[in-house]
Symmetry: C2
Subunit: 131 residues, 2 copies
């Protein structure tokens, strides 16, 4: 399941892309347009600014703007930063404790394949595709 964190993040980025012009877009406006809680959005965005997908400017006249052209954001990139778990099973997660049945597990390859299929889909669509 994709949680609201990832889904809202995408909606925010679409909204910013649509409304930024050559200025910045206050998150308050985005929250109003999208019908989402400003306070909630505020805690979803930090990973995106930290990794440089967005720039946030404080103070009056500030707000957010994109750092790239919409076609240069892969959806997978956004979701991997905002979703806690995007892998179908925990044992595929980076840094997960090595499963003791790893050697005899008959299903791990299957889950790895699913993970690949999902990430390929997410990475083959861009923000532009959603606009």
């Amino acid at each position: 399941m994709i949680s609201t964190r990832g889904r809202y993040a995408l909606r925010v980025m679409i909204d910013i892309a649509t409304n930024q012009g050559d200025g910045h877009v206050p998150m308050k406006d985005v929250a109003e347009r999208q019908g989402l809680s400003l306070k909630y959005l505020e805690q979803i965005l930090p990973p995106l600014t930290r990794r440089g997908l967005l720039i946030g400017i404080q103070g009056k006249g500030g707000g957010y703007r994109l750092t790239r052209d919409p076609k240069d954001y892969r959806i997978g990139e956004v979701l991997r930063l905002t979703e806690k778990d995007l892998e179908p099973v925990g044992c595929l997660k980076e840094g997960a404790p090595v499963c003791e049945r790893r050697n005899i597990c008959k299903t791990v390859d299957f889950w790895q394949g699913l993970n690949t299929v999902v990430n390929d889909y997410l990475d083959n669509h861009t923000l532009q595709d959603l606009m």
Copy 2:
């Protein structure tokens, strides 16, 4: 995320397929071989027997057995019965309340596409493939 319910269900079916011979396989044995809780497995299986993927025989000498050849079970079939939510987002779920933003939603097609990609993968693999 695929939960333990679906993952265990698959391991159980693999185990039954491997061990049934022409008799029945007691779940107690499966639980021991797989290192899983018998009591937990008992509440995962009912949807599978109800829908005829497994037959369960009570009493001494009883247990479970498959009703088809392993190559005739699609993985997606098993997971859709044992997992609560397999859809990537709630609004795609059958019987979900119609989203009021449905008409203007820019992302629903994208999520529908992801759902298709996942289900295609799951349905193009069989129990046989995991053995």
